[in-house]
Each structure stands twice: as C-alpha cells, then as structure tokens.
C-alpha cells in the first residue's frame, strides 16, 4: 500500500464515529439515488414495453398521438392503402382502449384492452393456457399480477366487459402497467367490441417491410398516401411515448428531482465529515508542508480519503440496493438495476466524494507551514 493510501486510510478510520457517520451519509444518499433512478428506469421500460414487444418496422398512428395509451383512432382503410405501397410486406391493424371489467362479486374495474391479429402485438411470457384458443370464442389473456384486482384465479375464469362475455384463456407473468390498470389482450374484433369502437376504426397500423426495402423510402411513400397520420419508427414512437409520460406529466422530473436531492444531501454530509476530519489533521498537513510536500501531495491524501469513503459507502449501498431490487421485483413498479446504472452510480459516488473533498482541499491549500512552530 502506498504511503498516501496508508495515511488516508488511517486518518479515515482513526475517528470511528465520524467514519461511520460518513459511511451512513454515503449509503443513504446512494440508496436514495438508486431507488429514484431505478424507479425512473422501471417507469421508462413500462411506458414503452408494448412498443418494444410489437413487431413493426413502422408505426402508423393518428396525427399527434402522444403515447401508446392515446385513445385517438384512425380509419381502418389505411390498412389497404398501406399494403399498396411498394416495400410494404404486411400491415397489421391494432386497437387499444379502456374498458370496464365486471368483477364476479359485483362492481367494475377499468382495464386496458389491446387487440391485434396474430402478426401484431401478442401477449408474451405466457405461463398458462393458449392466447389463441379457438375453442373459446371470447378468450382473453391477462397477467397473473392482476388476478385479485380482476377477481379471477386463472385460466377458465370468466366475466363480462360491456355485458359481453370474457373467458380467460391464457395467463402471462410480468406484463404490468405503470398506471396499474391491467392489460387485457385479445384479437382485434373482440377488442373493438369491448372498447366499444366501430369495426372500421383502429388505433395503430403496424407496418412490416419487405426484406431489403428502404425504410425511408417506404415511410415517404406512406406519408404521401395516408392523410392525417403520423408515421414513426419504433424508436421514435418509444421516445415520444416516454417523453410524454416522464416529462409531460412531471413524473420523470419528480424522480430526477429526488435523485438530485439525494446526491446533494450525500455530498453535503460527506463534505462536512471530510472537512471536519481535515480540520482535525491540520497540524499533520502543516507538517507535510513543512517537510516540503507539494500541495498536490496533500490533495492526493484527501482525495484518497474521499475515494476510500466512496468505495466502502458504495459497496454497502449496493447490498441494500440489491435487497430493494429483490423486494420490489414483484411490485407494480419494481426498482430496476442495470449494469450501466450500477456503473453510473459508482461514478456518481466517486464524484460526490471528490466534490466533497474540495472544501477540505481549499482548507489545506491555505495552510501555513509555519504553524508547526506554534503548536
């Protein structure tokens, strides 16, 4: 171990109470930031999960559609018009909208119905039953997370939507909505009936291109042929949807604000303890100056202290984060941790600690080496 690291670690561990306070400050700050950013990531994923799972090269939506859950409708004629555009291999209509699910014990609960053909958006992560069970004329697929909410216990249960029969034909795992409104998958026609929309209206057209077709050219030709629609790539639609929910509603700003506050509080706590530690060791730093050390040498000692705090604090915070992620995995809005987020949080911890060290560095920069003669 280098002498700088040894001096830094000994300075850090010498006052154990202060060291514990520093670490608690870092841990709480990082856990808070992790939860906020983890929720943000989770929210972001949920907002775009339908778009991510829909097989489409291009999305045709009503003009000005803000997000996937937007109830705006377009004419189903766009399907035949789109199919006539060179380079289009298939165009799958899709409808989405809210409906009221009758609970077996009475009352209703809102659901979000998604209807599409077999080449469109179909449920995934099936854990029971078959979504396209032709024996059941009113078959739907729901997620097991919402069983109690929907008053059902699994495949074979039935109820009504708009007084029309509903049979649960398949069950998924983990298709959850950030709005907490359960998703109900079915085919296009049944969805139109449940939502109560005309059979010549759809929400989206999922366009599949022929192999080798130029997406920009097809998009341009579609735009020329279709009126009052937006044509977007999945990425563009994902971004638009995400921007609406995260920033248009203020939800993202709240999560980011929480994360920022966590980082600021953590920085202040670490700065306070590092400043206090440096103040206690001023004579030692003055001695270093007296024996000819450069300012940079002393700065390295302080930064090393800050980095040690960062590594220890982050390691403990990571353990707590892991527990939080496991604990919320099955909740409506799980906290998500990804390798880039983990790396980013470590970087943030290091930056917080180095920023905190600045106050201490300013303090020792002004130190008078001659003070060693006065003590």
């Amino acid at each position: 171990m280098s002498l700088i690291a040894k001096l830094a670690s000994r300075n850090l561990f010498q006052d154990r109470l202060r060291f514990i306070a520093t670490i608690i400050g870092i841990v709480f700050s990082i856990v808070l930031v992790t939860i906020q950013l983890g929720l943000f990531l989770s929210f972001e994923r949920m907002v775009s999960t339908m778009i991510d799972h829909a097989p489409a090269d291009l999305w045709v939506t009503s003009l000005g559609t803000k997000c996937f859950e937007d109830p705006s409708l377009i004419d189903k004629k766009v399907e035949t018009k789109a199919l006539s555009v060179p380079g289009v291999a298939n165009a799958v209509p899709m409808v989405v909208g809210f409906a009221e699910w009758s609970l077996p014990k009475g009352g209703v609960t809102p659901v979000f119905v998604i209807g599409s053909g077999t080449d469109g958006l179909r449920p995934w992560n099936i854990i029971d039953g078959r979504p396209d069970d032709r024996d059941k004329s009113y078959s739907v697929t729901v997620d097991r997370t919402y069983f109690s909410r929907l008053g059902i216990s699994g495949v074979g249960d039935g109820t009504n939507i708009r007084d029309l029969r509903v049979d649960v034909a398949a069950v998924t795992n983990g298709i959850r909505s950030f709005t907490t409104t359960p998703f109900v998958f079915t085919n296009l026609e049944r969805a139109q009936t449940y939502i109560g929309t005309s059979s010549n209206k759809i929400s989206y057209l999922l366009v599949h291109l022929e192999p080798g077709a130029n997406i920009a050219t097809v998009r341009k030709d579609l735009a020329a042929k279709l009126d009052k629609v937006d044509i977007m790539t999945p990425t563009e639609f994902r971004n638009r949807s995400r921007d609406f929910w995260l920033f248009g509603t203020g939800a993202g700003a709240a999560l980011f604000g929480g994360a920022l506050l966590g980082a600021i509080v953590g920085t202040v706590i670490i700065a306070q303890t590092l400043y206090s530690s440096t103040k206690d060791h001023l004579t030692e730093f003055a001695t270093l100056r007296a024996i000819g050390s450069s300012s940079f040498y002393i700065h390295k000692v302080i930064i090393c202290q800050a980095l040690l705090s960062a590594v220890i604090g982050f390691s403990l915070a990571a353990l707590i984060d892991y527990a939080v992620v496991s604990f919320t995995a099955e909740s409506a809005l799980p906290v998500v941790m990804t390798p880039p987020l983990t790396a980013g949080l470590f970087l943030l911890t290091v930056l917080m600690c180095i920023a905190s060290a600045l106050t201490a560095i300013v303090q020792v920069t002004r130190i008078d080496p001659a003070r060693v003669f006065k003590i």
Binding site: R10, I291, S293, A370, F373
Partner: protein
Amino acid sequence: MNEAVIEGIDIVKKLGSGAGQVVALRGVSLTLMGGELTLLMGPSGSGKTTLLSVLGCMLTPTSGVVRIRGRKVNGAGPGTLARLRRDHVGFVFQSYHLFPTLSALDNVRLALDVRGERGSAAIGRCRHVLDVVGLSDKRNSFPRELSGGEQQRVAIARAIVANPSAILADEPTGALDSANGQAVMSILADIARDPARGVLVVTHDTRIVPYANRVILIEDGRIIGEEPGGAGRREIRTLYPRAAALQLTNESGGPEGRRSGTSRRNV
C-alpha cells in the same frame, strides 16, 4: 573550507497589519555554515522562531535576503519554497509532529515519499537513519508506544533521511528530560560533523550549550551577541542580561567546550 548553507542578510520581518503589526525581526544577519552546530537563544517573543521560519523558507522576509546554498530565494512562491525545503532543509520540532497513525519507519518514509522517492531503496535508507539514531528495534512502533526522547529521535531521522544541507531544530530538547535531551543533542552534534551540513537549534536550554560551535543571542528581533560554543552559564549570563528569566541551568553532562573554535563571526 566549509561553505555557507543558509545565509540571512539584514532580514526584517513584520507580522500582522495595521495597529496590530509587530516587527519580529529588525535587520538580522546570520549565516549557517556546513559542519557547524549553532544555537539561537533568546527569550520568548525575541524572534527566534520567526528567524528559523524565514531561514527555513516557511516565511518570506519583509525585506532582506535569504540564500540557500548561494541561491537567493526572495520572491519565491509557496510551491518553490516547498521545493527548497524539500531539497535543502530538514526540520525538528519541539512537539515532534510525528504522524500518530504511522509507524516510526513510515514517519521517516514520509520525508522521502514527498520527494517521490519510494520502493526498497527508500525503505533501506529509512532503516539506516533509524539505526543511526538508535531506534533499529523501534521501526514498527507507533509514536504512542515511544518515549518523548525516542519520538524526537524519529523526528531527527525524518529530518536527515533526505540528506538536507541544513537541519533546523525548534526547541528539540524542550519537552525532554535531561538524559533524553543530551541524547538528542548528541545526535544533532554528530550530524553537524558533516561539513556539508549545518545545524541550527533554537533553544532556551543552556544545558545544550556545550554541544554548539557557537551561540547566537537574540532579543527584540535583533541579534545582541555571539559566543563560541561550549561556554557555560556564566558567559551566557554576561552576554545576555535577561539570562535569569530563561531559567538557565547548567547541567554538567555535556561534552563542554569540545566543539569550540569553528564558529564564524558574522553577526
């Protein structure tokens, strides 16, 4: 012929500002020669430590010239002064100023580490100087495990390990009993036998006069006299009217007069 290690010429140092300003040094000139142990004696507030700080490049003089190994250091910034201290000066302090969390060996290593000297060669040098000061069996002891005398010897090892031209010591025996004080002064006197090194000791303690080549007396920021080393209580009293206030005690354990005859009168 021995060369001048540090020269201070007509040094004036004012501390503070406005009505609270104090003139700590009023035109002091002093040359520390290689191969020489010089004592700087005077009462509290006489300017001893200020002069030591100026000569050791810790403070810049208000006016006057400081030269280290012939190089004028006036006008140097804090970084340059730190480099000059690193390259030419070793300090020994009354309260040792050892790092309590580091072993004796690591405390000595610090003086080389700040110069960028690391590795086994550096550690070997540190071990050697600890041997020189008689602490070969205390290398791994922490300051709290050492007596005051041993701590001061570690401080001396730290001061000499980088082979500086000048050792400046501020009351090195001030916190020690007679035996330890004699031991510390004996080591400093040995260091001063090297013609390339000069040792300047600020002290109140007349017991250590016998170790000096010369004694310089300072009062009210002015040098008021110089006497060859080895002088006893009576001579110091003669030169220095406030000697009684210094609680001078003439312990008889030192090698009285053994280093006389090499002083240089330049006061």
